[in-house]
Amino acid sequence: MPILNIVNLKKYYGKDPQTTVKALDDISLTVEKGEFVAIVGTSGSGKSTLLHMLGGLDRPTEGKVTVDGNELFAMSDEKLTIFRRRSVGFVFQSYNLVPILSVLENITLPIELDGGRIDRTYLDEVIQALGLQSKIHSLPGSLSGGQQQRVAIARALATKPSIILADEPTGNLDSKTSQEVLILLKQMSEKFNQTIVMITHNESIAQMADRIIRIEDGRIVSGNATPSGARIL
């Protein structure tokens, strides 16, 4: 069963036809539940734009995105936000932690915003696995890049979302840390049967994925076939 279904998605910037940027030019894509997809492509090819559309962070010029049976852009801003905090976990290249909240508060923020109950055991498990026990009361500003990225991952996992969207999660990390963070992410998602869509420039990281989708000039140039085989690695 596909968890993610994208149909004829277009995103154009600018009204003047001569100068419009076709960031996404008619993209259709399906991702199965539990799948780990890597998106690669040159800079400016439209990867981030696509990811934003998948998470409902921005509205497309045309087309449909369905996540877990919910058509994103048919929802109001309010509904979309609620859906996002319950079902989508984000990891951004620049961490994007809330600076005025402690590490623990950052991690539990989506749950608390939802008024939900915090599953302490699960949370402890995530924090433990990401090695953040000693840092939970610190403010994000006092953490290193790698630590911040791990907090961002913990936050993405906290609500047990069905899908995790990551934009160059290791872009600012050295290769050793990158590897560690990636392995963690993968382990956690496997454990909870989560779907991962990840943008990366790093070929070796892309190789860890079940499928690699290549985008150029807002179009998918390869990888638009769901693999039937089992996961590699």
Binding site: D77, E112, G116
Partner: protein, 843 residues
Amino acid sequence: MIANNNRKIVTRLSLRSLRVSPLRNLAVISAVVLTTLLITSIFTMSLNLNKSMELTMMKSVGTDFHGSFKRVSPEQIEILQQHPSVKEYGVMLHAGLLRNEVFRDSPVEVKRIDEASARHSFIHLIEGGLPEAGNEVVLSTWVLDKFGIQHALGERVQLDIDITERVLKQEFVVSGYYEADKNLAIAGLAFVSDAWVQQNISGIDPAESEASGSYVNTQEMSVMFKNAVDIEKKLDKVLADTGVNRPTGVNWAYTTSSLSDNLIEFVPYVAVIFIIMLSGYLLIYNIFYISVVRDVKFYGLLKAIGTTPRQLKRMIRIQSQILYLIGLPFGLAAGYVIGRLLTPMMNTFSSEPMEAAYSASPWIFIGAALFAYLTVWLAAGKPGRMAARIAPVEAVRYTGVQTTRRRNKRSKRGGRLHVMAFTNLFRSKKKLSLMLTSLSLSIVLFSIIFTVIGSLDVNKYLSTFLSGDMVIRNEKIETHEGERPGDPYKLSEAFSSDLERIDGVKSVEKVYYYYDIHDMDEKIRAVLQPLSETEPPQPYLTSLLERNSVYLQLYGIDPGWYDLVQKDVIEGHFDPQKFASGDYVLVAQSLMWEEDTYTSYYHPGDIMEFKNLGKSYEVMAVMNYDALYAATTQSFSTYGFNAFFPSSELTGELPAETNPPWPLSATLHIDPDKLDSATQAAKSLAASSDELVVKSREDYREELDGFIGVFQIIGYGLSFVIALIGVLNYINTVVTGVIMRRNEFALLESIGMTKRQLKKMLVYEGIYNVLLTTAITSTLGVFLTYSIAKSIAGNTAFTVFRMSWLPFVLVVPVLAIIAYTVTLSSYRMLSKATLIERLRQGE
């Protein structure tokens, strides 16, 4: 449950946001304190003023009871007092009038009262208690003084009490006395005991004395209801419910002084409160607006993570509420104190002397808190909605050089900074025109107010009240209504010769006054008859026509006034020599029913007969309805008019049985070298009488200074607010513009524009803004100021239009400084990072 849970995290986020923006908080709190302070002081002042007005009126009525039932029997009192709506009551019995020689001119009523009546009639005994024995009496200090006896209990006094059928002469013992209140209308009262009433007048039939008009042994029952709403209806209902049928009286102090009846008096207050709220709104709104624009990434990130628009709105709302709660107590307390301190000053602008009364009504605080809250609520609303609408991509979008496309477009224009700055101005035409309009408008409004204040003219004001150096007026004459103690002859010939003898007094110019009920002649009827036939009918005019008379005020003026006549003449010519002969009269126009309409029944050359003067006069000239204002009583009767004669015509032989004219005022012309000593001497001469009011030129000047002071406070306050609005709008436009163009500036830098050049470009933009604004204000603005200020000054008394150029000149450097400062600080903001970035870099 869910709502309750997530409320906690929103509150926590709000509190943390507050903690990291101390400067913004301080600004908002100051705005809240300012708003609350101003509103509270306005509320305090208006409630105090209302209370002062009420107190003054109640004192002139003589009681604060809501209403009364007249001439009721003891049995009826028994029935009426049981009615559930009657909360409290007092009974006053009319016993008679004092006939002692000292009270020949000021009647003193003898009454029997109970404790409740005393309490509600402002009778506060200094010593003693209400009379009990038949020979006990309570008097006021004024009455005691008249008798020339000490303020002490046990003093003996001979009272001649007129009970109509005869005058009872009896010696009384003072069992209590109270301070005579000069604001109280009825100063002359004597209170006797019930025992005295039983002994002496209980045999008199109230019905008979009512019929004869003496009212001896009649009782009046005054009542207090739960509140003063619809007193007349309540009185009628009591009568209907109890079946008693007696005349009633409503304490008109409650009806005329109530807020609703005097709504017009409160319009300025409403306007001022609106302005305060508007300025508070703009301040707070701008601070929040800029902070949201600044922290766009922060709100975008929160939204990306799952903070819903409603939660974001609540975050801003909570922050504003907390800041409001912090500022509120300070604003309320300071506002109350200031309002209280300003009240006596406000009272001096009332036309009647007023005693300051203070209100500590909780409504002042509740009202001010509510209005301030409304201000904050509205001000935080739009920034909240803006934060809610922020697209979550804002937070995650990579900021930096984005396209090469724009680069080409820019480079075509070349690196000429001022050209770039100029084109930048017109990028958002809507924003630019909004900013220019708001700035120009505030400058124009400021100039108008400045010009009007500058046009106030002290001499014009003085001349309307005073023609010489000082005036002594007989105020009692000017209050026709009611029986008031007083001697209308106080300004006697003997007194004025005393005045003339003062060293330095060059002349004493007197005005005599005669209230004339004048038979209507053909000429008056010719004007009034057609008016009475129009719809809707005017009861007052109909009654005048039925009575066939109008009310005139005749004035006899001394030659010193002649110089002032010609400027008020609107028809004919004033010839002082001919006028002094005594065959001529000057008539003023009549005040008509409709506002601002005046008509003259007569024209120069007409012959008028004055029955009460026993003579006919030729009309020499027609004057403004308020001609020689300083000489008159300054009151006017509708359809009546003022007429002026030489004073000899009023002081000479008048037909028998007509009332003698009253000396109304004496105006002193004093040698400038001896002004001070002569003023002092005249004042001390006049001080021997409590009915003469002495005012010197200096006194009037002080009055006007006070008036101008208030006018300036309100006027400059208003223009300050308006200027604030303009400047805030400007700051807002510039700062948000810079924040929003942050990426573009980064791009410009990356293609080689130095920070210095960037700063220069921004300064150019500021200069162009100032130039555009100046261009607008120096053309259209000057025109508007000139025409509007001129028409305002033309319609206001005491003003002589004088165009002020200062605001237009002053505005250029002020604007330039503001523009420069704002540009520099927004440029500095650029180099600082946003909230998110600042904190991420580790504090």
